[in-house]
Amino acid sequence: MLRYILFRLLQVIPVLLGTTFLIYFMVFAMPGDPIAAMFGDKQPSEAVLERVRAQYHLDQPFIVQYLLYLKGIFVGDFGVSFSGEPVSQILARTFPVTIKLAAMAIAIELVLAVVIGLFSGLRKGKLFDNVNLIIGLLFMSIPIFVIAFIAQFGLGLKLGWFKPTVSSGAPVQDLLLPAIVLGVSLYATSMRLTRASVIDTLNQDFVRTAYAKGLSRRRVIPVHVLRNSLIPTITNTATDFGVLMVGATVTEGIFNVPGVGNVLFQAILKGENATVVSFVTVMVLIYLGVNLVVDLLYAVLDPRIRYA
């Protein structure tokens, strides 16, 4: 197990180098002069521009810029954004918000997926199951920004149950609506996994044995069936958590959540290399970390899977 984890951690190094290089190069290749764009209409003298460029190492050739940036990362210096704020500070400001939002969304997703999926699986082929499958397909088809707008317009503006946008500081009650939107847009896949897994488990010998030795349905369903059906759901939800940590750009934008996706999207548009690459680096680390945890979860949850 330990060797497996070490091996996986070693694999992260080339991937991380590759992703940072790729992103750094692409942002470098963006047309336009980000420094000139910083000053807007009032362009300062060429000398000032030169000094600012030197400050961000933009006067150096590409590969030197990249290596200087990498060197910075190794000593914990993520560089400075064009607005003068250290990138590490931006990271510290935005990541807690995104983690909070992702955790809430995942909790909603998990509850919906397990409860609906279990009952759907137990009533396979009945009316509830079929209706539920159709609803799930619909939710899989509606793009997230459409769900977000409908929720914002219906629940936020018309009914007034939730605040339509998130105020500064991102308190939990404000994050509830975006979390519901994310959870609802993600639940269908997990729900179907739960349902399929429940149906598989119901046909297992140990379930028949449990009934045969006289256990009641109230004990067999939660203990024997549900517990053994949750592996695909939990691993899929964990993967979703990794996706939410990096990919909630659209939802965060619509609800004005001061999280990672929103800030990163603005930084890309501005061509802020240090900010973009630092965010992507942290995201990729989280993403690979979540993937590793997911793979280890398989082994923890299912004794048949062992990593040598």
């Binding site: 694999q11 080339p14 991937v15 590759g18 992703t19 790729l22 992103i23 692409m26 942002v27 290749a29 963006m30 047309p31 396979k124 397909l137 619909l138 899989m140 088809s141 509606i142 793009p143 997230i144 920004f145 459409v146 707008f149 914002q152 317009f153 503006l157 399929a196 149906i199 598989d200 996706v243 990096v246 990919g247 750009t249 659209v250 934008g253 990163l264 999207f265 890309i268 548009l269 061509g271 973009v276 992507v280 995201m283 990729v284 993403y287 690979l288």
Partner: protein, 326 residues
Amino acid sequence: MPDSQNQSQPGRSVRPPIEHFVAPVDETPVVPVDAVRIKEKKSNLWLDAWRDMRRRPMFWISVVIILVVALVALFPGMFTQVDPRASSLANSNGAPTAGHPLGFTKQGYDVYARIIYGASTSVSVGLIVITITFVVGTVMGALAGFFGGALDTVLSRIGDIFFSIPYILAAVVVMSVMQEYRNPLVIAFAIGGFSWPITARIVRSEILRVKNADFVMAAESLGLSRFATLVRHVLPNALAPAIVVTTLSLSSAIVAEATLSFLGVGLPPGQFISWGNDISAAQLSLRTDPMPLIYPSLALTVTVLGFILLGEVVRDALDPKARARR
């Protein structure tokens, strides 16, 4: 003479007679034992899948949706006479009138005409994306899985690099780099360039499963080269999961294009009509007039639903395990 035994022992009729049914020789067709019976239904993975699919209502629903979308995308002029680029600000956010069944956008465009003309953008981008992911993913996955060793390590790590950058974000970066050249081909490469590793992984694991089969060894022992073995024997038997994931990813590619256009880094709104652009434009007047946002969203959702249904049916048909769960 079947009754001779009974007649010879009268009085001992305890057991009922054992009846032998043997057809006379002239009624029994004589077939050579090594002949192939070609009258039986032919059966292979694809035929079975087709037989399974055509029995399902979901398949026909998806076919109808996709046919309608394809017709609209190919011949938009057949469905509307209104010019989708004709804007009259007098009609800004106007209610539906005769000839304009869905009303007008804030810019005074006809909503229905915009939806009709937006279909081709979505469908063409989606098709180019899945072509890219299928070709690149299959080639990378097949080479990595079949030849193994150092090549596998290198190709798999390259896949990891592209896979671990979320593909919407990567596409945002690519579209920012290519901001002078935003067209359906570029946006398709921006999306497909970062989503092929999923296909590659699936093909690779399937190749690993297939490559040790007996028929592969047979092909090699007949003197076929390694590459010919891969192309002629291994790959055709490992493609089913790749086809499933490609069909399913068509819908996500359409959503990705709409998302990028929605974020403002997709197709330039002046040149291309895209549902994502229209949704993004209608967002500004959501509070006063939500309908111009709802209609293109509905078109997008129905199109995506059609392709998701197709992907589901194809997956169920090609994966016997999924069949059992229905």
